[in-house]
């Protein structure tokens, strides 16, 4: 199930909220677990056991570590068990076919592909459960004693499929709070965030996204240079509003259930460097890699050379995490190159020249999205040549007229105008209620007549 869906909003959510609010506190985590398992199975019922296994393995690994605290050997055994399961299932479901395919190509083998569909959200929840066991191993958190509480953390439907990547420490307190978890203040905030998120996804992302789909149908090499740019701008807006809208809906739902999920996006397109961009884009993923890969590798404490090497590892993994294909690796390494360059010399210059800095950042991001989207490396090359060669092809005129208003709205909503509006009016119901009503009803209208409502995280 996805949030931007009539069934989710008017059937699933309405029923779950009533039950969740009505049952006594001691059953609330059970309700979350049950609702989340239904939510998850809705899209892929066969993977229900993976969800259960994921919960059980990390619950007991952490229990084992907790029980043998002090005994390094046994603790390591517990950690290895979790690592083996989480990374193993991630590898099996997400990467096995990629390696088989490439092994077949390189060595002329003929190993049959597994062709197993990717379990929804596996990249997100394996990271969450694995980081929990690492935290327990490090002694940063105490192992959860109640398996229902723990399964509520793992399966919690708002963040199950597309993040934000919630750490156990983010919700630990609330999961074990019996009184005062749910507040009217939180519900109030949650409603606002959910509706804004819904609008971002349905009204902006879907609206501009159709342009990029058209360009793909034309063939990336068939478009003129202006249309190539229009297209990549549309895709940049689509992926931002789609992903951040989805995260915002998740955060809003979290508030309604009484949890505070971490912020996942913070106006990434106003960045003045790529370094800054990655502090504003998919924040919980960058933090995860920082805390569980980069810093354990030594971070910046072992000299510049080692730091660059650590960055290389992190960005290779970040790229590969996004999808099992060469272009995602390339995308990761592309960002590594930019970040390393900024780290070594560019950042100071960028700080002194804000206008060129913005242009450079946006250009680099746009090229990045082309690499990210176009899996066929030949087509990718053709498209990037199109972007920078001023050549003819299918002209942009019609598409500019058709998408101008949507793109303009998208651009304006990518700036600080949105946060300024939020800061000024968030508690002013006379403004908030009409604005949210408009967004909500219009979003429903678009969902009822949904000719284009993609879910673009299937690969993650």
């Amino acid at each position: 199930m996805i949030f931007s869906n009539i069934f989710f909003i008017f059937r699933f959510l309405t029923v779950v909220l009533i039950i969740y609010y009505r049952v006594p506190y001691k059953y609330k985590n059970g309700v979350i677990t049950l609702a989340s398992l239904i939510f998850y199975s809705w899209g892929e019922v066969k993977y229900f056991p993976i969800m259960i296994a994921s919960t059980v393995v990390d619950f007991f690994s952490s229990q084992y570590i907790e029980k043998h605290r002090g005994d390094r050997k046994k603790m390591k055994r517990g950690l290895a068990c979790s690592a083996l399961f989480n990374l193993g299932s991630l590898f099996f479901f997400k990467y096995a076919d990629f390696f088989i395919l490439n092994a077949n190509n390189f060595f002329g083998l003929n190993i049959p592909l597994l062709n197993i569909p990717l379990p929804l959200g596996i990249s997100f929840y394996t990271f969450q459960t694995f980081s929990y066991t690492i935290d327990v191993y490090r002694g940063d958190v105490e192992a959860e004693k109640n398996i229902i509480n723990f399964s509520a953390f793992v399966t919690m439907f708002p963040q199950l499929i597309a993040g934000p990547i919630v750490l156990y420490s983010d919700v630990q307190k609330k999961l074990n709070t019996h009184e005062g978890r749910i507040t009217l203040e939180g519900i109030n905030e949650g409603i606002k965030l959910f509706i804004f998120g819904l609008g971002k996804k349905v009204l902006i992302a879907n609206n501009v996204g159709a342009l990029w789909t058209d360009i793909e149908a034309m063939g990336f090499g068939a478009v003129s240079t202006p249309l190539a740019w229009l297209g990549i701008i549309a895709y940049s807006l689509q992926i931002y509003f789609d992903f951040s809208g989805y995260s915002l809906m998740a955060i809003g739902l979290g508030h309604m259930l009484g949890f505070d999920f971490p912020m996942n996006f913070n106006l990434p397109y106003i960045s003045k460097s790529i370094t800054e961009f990655w502090r504003r884009w998919h924040i919980t993923l960058s933090s995860w890699f920082r805390d569980y890969v980069y810093i354990p590798l030594g971070g910046n404490r072992k000299g510049l050379k080692r730091q660059i090497l650590n960055m290389l590892v992190v960005w290779f993994l970040t790229g590969f995490w996004h999808g099992a294909d060469w272009n995602f690796m390339l995308w990761g390494l592309y960002y590594f190159a930019l970040l390393a360059m900024e780290k070594i010399f560019l950042l100071d210059w960028l700080k002194k020249h804000p206008v060129p800095a913005r242009i450079y950042t946006l250009l680099a991001i746009a090229v990045g999205w082309a690499i990210f989207y176009i899996t066929d490396l030949g087509a990718l090359g053709g498209f990037i040549v199109k972007m920078f060669s001023f050549s003819g092809g299918i002209s942009a005129g019609y598409y500019l007229r058709n998408y101008f208003a949507s793109i303009l709205i998208g651009v304006l909503c990518s700036t600080t105008l949105t946060t300024k509006f939020w800061d000024k009016y968030k508690n002013n119901n006379l403004v908030m209620i009409p604005v949210l009503t408009g967004i909500f009803l219009l979003s429903i209208a678009y969902l009822v007549d949904s000719t284009y409502n993609p879910f673009i995280y299937f690969r993650f």
Partner: protein
């Protein structure tokens, strides 16, 4: 509880959206289930029967979602709301339909793959080779964008009929293609294509009919104004069913009065199914829809076979005064060899009548050379 109510008063936004959400949800739950949507001219989803097979194939739950969307309360009003919003955003298209000037709508073609068309030309050439003694004619009717080009907004992604007809001109065995595009173009200021439907109007079909009569050496055909014509207002066609634009300009559907009878599988009726004029899909009145095989008795001489798509449906009524027997074949439903039928009926003429959009993607034309 009392305290909760007191506190809730401090959060009117929660009360407001709570009521809005649950009011819509509950009203939706109790709203009657319609079987079809007149607006969209289609059957709405039915509630899926549960089966484990479907559940495990991930086919069950999407059907529930479709059902919920299809039967959502006030569905038509939501669709109009979206249409108004799209129009305010300056969108020039919706759901595969591109808007033109003066309320015209066209099928959207983003990219065009001509490989099927090339195959179709080959199939027809093979057919012509076998039946060179029977006056085979091919009409590829241009769809609206090729004729009403002044109604097409510049750069719109629509079909390139020039290319298709050019290819056909060059590749269909010489003498067999009857190009009606120029004739239609010279009348592009007349009402020869529907605004809201992908078909040509009865008048448009007449121009092509007249060309065909000249082509086959019959000059005893009537001019359009010699027919008794009936107009039916408020025709909303297939393009509208997809685009559902709130500011649509309905079409007028015309037909020439006729007593001709059509025999579809042994049942004989008037060639028009006038009951269809009461429903959305009015064009389906012509030839009573799209019969797989049908025979029409005319008052003229000679036998003609027509292998066709729905563009022929309003074209055929004109022919009833020129031919003794008109047999129409829709290749989608044909599973037997045409050659034997042709031998048996001993047709004098064979006409292929397809519109360019069908011809581009039709996968059933291969059957004209099969099963023999």
């Amino acid at each position: 509880m009392k305290e909760l109510m007191k506190n809730l008063k401090k959060y009117p936004l929660i009360i407001y959206f709570g009521i809005l959400l649950y009011a819509i949800a509950i009203m939706d739950l109790f709203s009657p289930v319609e079987e079809r949507s007149e607006l969209e001219n289609r059957e709405l989803a039915t509630f899926p029967k549960f089966s484990f097979q479907q559940l495990f194939d991930n086919e069950y739950t999407p059907k529930i979602e479709d059902f919920t969307e299809d039967h959502f309360i006030k569905r038509d009003s939501w669709i109009s709301l979206k249409s108004i919003s799209e129009s305010l955003l300056g969108k020039k298209e919706n759901n595969g339909v591109v808007y033109g000037e003066d309320g015209y709508m066209f099928t959207k073609f983003v990219s065009t793959d001509y490989s099927q068309m090339e195959k179709n030309v080959d199939y027809i050439n093979k057919f012509i080779e076998r039946h060179s003694d029977r006056n085979v004619t091919v009409i590829l009717a241009p769809t609206a964008p090729g004729v009403m080009s002044d109604k097409v907004l510049e750069g719109s992604p629509v079909i390139d009929t020039e290319y298709i007809l050019g290819y056909a001109q060059e590749n269909i065995t010489v003498g067999h293609l009857l190009d009606v595009q120029d004739t239609l173009k010279s009348h592009s200021d007349e009402y020869i294509y529907y605004r809201t439907d992908h078909h040509w109007t009865t008048l448009g079909a007449w121009y092509a009919y007249a060309e065909y009569m000249e082509h086959t050496g019959r000059s005893n055909y009537k001019a359009m104004n010699e027919y008794q014509v009936t107009d039916v207002e408020n025709f909303l066609g297939t393009h509208y069913s997809k685009a559902k634009n709130y500011n649509v300009q309905p079409d007028v559907l015309s037909y020439i009065e006729s007593d001709a009878q059509i025999d579809i599988g042994g049942t004989v009726n008037n060639i028009y199914e006038k009951e269809k004029l009461e429903v959305r899909d009015k064009y389906a009145m012509f030839l009573r829809g799209n019969p797989g095989m049908a025979t029409i008795k005319g008052s003229g001489t000679g036998k003609v076979m027509i292998i066709k798509d729905s563009y022929a449906n309003c074209f055929v009524p004109f022919m009833t005064e020129n031919y003794e027997q008109i047999d129409v074949y829709d290749m989608r439903y044909i599973t037997m060899g045409l050659d034997r039928l042709i031998e048996a009926a001993d047709y004098d003429e064979i006409l292929f009548l397809y519109n360019c959009e069908t011809f581009l993607s039709d996968k059933d034309l291969m059957k004209i050379n099969m099963f023999n």
